[in-house]
Amino acid sequence: MTNHYIDLKNSDCILIMGSNAAENHPIAFKWILRAKDRGAKIIHVDPRFTRTSARCDYHVPLRSGTDIAFLGGMIKHIIDNNLIQEEYVKYYTNASQIVSPDYDFQDGLFSGYDAEKRKYAKNTWTTEKDAAGIPVRDYTLEDPRCVYQMLKKHYKRYTLEKVSSITGVSKNNLLKVYNEYGATGAKDKAGTECYALGWTHHTVGSQNIRAMAIIQLLLGNMGICGGGINALRGEPNVQGSTDHAILYNILPGYLKMPSGPVDTLSKYLEKYTSKSTDPQSANWYQNYPKYAVSFLKAVWGAKATPENEFGYSWLPKLDDGKDYSIMHATDQMYAGKMKGFFAYGSNIAVSSPNSTKVRKGLEKLKWMVNVNIFDNETSSFWKGPGVDPKTIDTEVFLLPAAASMEKEGSQSNSGRWVQWRYKAANPPGDALSDGDITMRIMDTVRELYQKEGGAFPEQILNLKWDYKDALGNFDVAKVSKMINGHYNQDLTVITDPIKGTTEENKKGETVPSFAKLTADGSTSCGNWLMSGSFDQKGVNKMMNRGKEDPTGLGLYPDWSFAWPLNRRIIYNRASCDLEGKPYNPKMKLLEWTGEKWVGDVPDGPWPPMANTEKGKYPFIMKADGVGSLFGPGMAEGPFPEHYEPLEGPLATNPMSAQRINPAVKVFTSDLDKVANADQKFPYVCTTYSCTEHWCSGFTRWQPWLLEAMPEAYVEISDKLATQLGLKNGERVRVSSVRGEVTCVAMVTKRMTPFEVEGKVVHQVGMPCNYGWLNPVKNDDDSVNHLTPAVGCPNTFCPEYKAFMVNVSKA
């Protein structure tokens, strides 16, 4: 979230698209309803009419996987009708920059495409710079190659007729949403977007969000109260785990994971340190070396020295051009190339796409460790349906883990609020916290390395590994402090060279802000974003529970800690005009007094941009300091483009010759079958989690929740049910080219067929929370037997949300 949960109440129009907020984020919905009380319009765009739709002003059904077409049409509508926040677009985005003449887009392909590798060379996706390295700009936005004009040209094709035909949304509905949301382009109006897995679970997942980012920039909705792009992230601490690098391609704090060819620290820093010569750009990522070196110091401690490049060579490196997502891992398993596997709090036999392949892959492992609070389909795969335990050689260890309420630590919500959570009860039996389990395993590994040696001993033995309390248990406070960072030595910092004032920092003191981190090894910091979660005296700000709200905007600055630096709304300087006056005087998120900013913690102390000498652009994390309408960082192009899902009802993409995302990689094992526009699988299917169950379903062991939502179901429109002769509550079989599952048919008016390219396309939906282990009734199993293992090329988030199935009586 660029904003935070409470801030949703400040919005004038909330577009819930790619999310089922009421069902999956019930608390978030409280604030959405507050906005509604204030008169905000709440719009739900979703293939299904859900509990969210029931509480919105209106629901607009949309065919799964066509969000970019929908949003592309909105971009066109906003531009054509001049609904943009003009000053914002001119000065706070790259609209005025001139796109390189080498950049091109033809029939679904951007320049630089390598069809064989299914990959783009991005060297033509650039904007022009002058001799001083400062971007060339045309503030009239009339230059035909300026970003604004290029954007207009790109989305010219997204006409109402075309968008309606692709998405299955009526033109009336399209216009209704476009006008309603477009109205937030007014300076004193805020529109926000709430998304979740409904946008990320696509082969175009990242671009779904990019398309919305463009809209938000055009309407001046970024950095303001009630605006932003808000990922509603899940209860499993998704925000915290991504901040702390649960993904293979990042290090904590979203630092880059190095790859093989980047074999020295200097190469690494050279590659990832952002450069800008523009004096008006804060270019915050110029500080990259400080964060990277402090991270290395946190990992290797005293063993990290300038001489050994702070242990950079000990960091694991990705093979160049290779990906390591869970889909890649299970592909490797299935190919017999993986020996062992840790399933930490995960249940991939249910949750990963193409479960049939995943389970076959598990059979080929030598060993597997599952750390979980319950047995699940992954740890019990060897006795699963169709599996003969006698033929399985995999040794499975199930380690009982403590549940989240049985351990102390921090939990990050989507609004980046990192809240300290205390232990409510002791874990039962032999269960241990994840920290203790990790600690014990690593202790033993290190002992064995000391005794027997092994591959890469430096990594193991040089690790800073002193996170235990006096009793030898995992000490979460020690880990948290290391994540925040501390001074490795006494450090005197000159704060004002003219007055000669200095600041004395003592060795061992916690670093109060990432601005204090250094690249010379004098500071350690496990995750620069979290720097400031402790003050210099070691007081844990995550424990703050102050209920004061001085701005009246719901920022609650004294409640917990929000990264970065307790900033509640990021890019908040964009809420003010060039003079530093708030665009919406009723919501003074920030205001420049002439000397300083008052309100939220500003995105930097610099004066507003009217001060051409010291003023800085508001989007400080970007090298050019402005929001990217033209976004060259993406894998599949600088402008989001509509591509069909890997499996869809159409044989061709109505928008271009490229049916699917050109940058998507498709797995090629014998179990990775695809059936596009196949009469045998005529219905679009989407999957989701229901309120009552948690992810892959450990809540299935909770009798009350199982009572409330007892078994797997497929939601089918009454029209399709009539066509298939199905009655409500009847048992059915749902099949895709990859597998089939049984469940109960839920016949409902909440599902509606779509008219797509002149054809009627039916859509069905199934929850992803069930598996064979329990409840045992009827042998129902994971819906992921049906889903294809394919994902967004930027994140490898699998395409759970759009694939093709058939439905028949069981």
């Binding site: 009421a22 009350w704 009572e707």
Partner: protein, 265 residues
């Protein structure tokens, strides 16, 4: 009597997350039972002895053909003129100081009279304990100045509880905001219930919700007519008999000692 309380259920804010349904079970230690999906999100299918409150799900198209998915938290209405209390033979069901209807479990004899009495179908029989089971508005929590479990769990503010007057004012204000067919449900019948709904649609639209709940006529006949009549009539008979005795005297048999049969007439 302490301050009368009203639990307000604002259905326009309910997202059917069913937090209340589960929280109720947790606090009141009500077990789950095996259910099956019968083609609805609703489960258990109805209130049960182990389910004191539940969300009813109902799909409906309004007069403009616009799809609605109505959610209604069902449960005890805590009537002032409570039929269950009226029929309870042992005074097991009673009004608390908050106006809610609670139950002395040890007094319940499992006679089930309250089951058909309730206009809302709330009391349920637990065969294992041979007792009636129903919501008591978390009486012990109220006594300890705590919110009822359902109210505490509600994420959206659909459930609130407070002083009667304040809550009714709030309900009417909300109905005014909502406009259209919205109405307050609960204050106008059974001498006012201690659970009051803000209904966004007309009451008749909702499944299992009586439009005009009343004390059943049968109970009035039974408890207000026949019950006193039982004593009254019997008393009259006794009095009448006495009167008869002193006015007419007994019908004494004729003196006859012969063992011969009488003549044919």
């Amino acid at each position: 009597m302490k301050q009368e309380l009203i639990k307000l259920i604002d259905l326009s804010r309910c997202t059917a997350c069913r937090g209340c349904q589960i929280a109720c079970k947790q606090w009141n230690e009500l077990p789950a039972r095996q259910t099956e999906n019968f083609g609805s999100y609703q489960n258990p299918p109805d209130l049960q002895w182990n389910t004191w409150t539940m969300i009813r799900f109902q799909e409906r198209e309004d007069q403009n053909g616009i799809l609605q998915w109505l959610f209604r938290k069902d449960g005890c209405m805590h009537c002032s003129d409570a039929a269950c209390i009226k029929v309870c033979p042992t005074e097991a069901l009673y009004h608390t100081e908050f106006g809610s209807v609670s139950m002395h479990e040890h007094k319940c004899i499992g006679c089930k009279a309250c089951i058909p009495a309730c206009p809302f179908g709330v009391p349920k029989f637990n065969a294992a304990t041979n007792k009636i089971s129903k919501c008591d508005l978390c009486y012990t929590r109220l006594q300890a100045n705590q919110l009822p479990a359902c109210v505490l769990s509600c994420p959206t503010g659909a459930l609130t509880i407070g002083e009667k007057d304040v809550m009714l004012k709030k309900a009417y204000k909300r109905v005014k905001e909502l406009g259209g067919d919205a109405s307050v449900y609960g204050d106008k019948f059974l001498d006012g219930t201690h659970v009051v709904y803000v209904l966004p649609e007309k009451p008749e639209v909702y499944d299992n919700l009586p439009t005009d709940p009343k004390m059943p006529l049968t109970i009035i006949v039974w408890k207000d007519v026949l019950k006193p009549a039982g004593l009254l009539v019997a008393g009259s008979v006794v009095a009448g008999a006495f009167l008869h005795y002193i006015t007419h005297g007994p019908k004494t048999p004729e003196e006859e000692t012969t063992s011969e049969g009488g003549k044919l007439s």
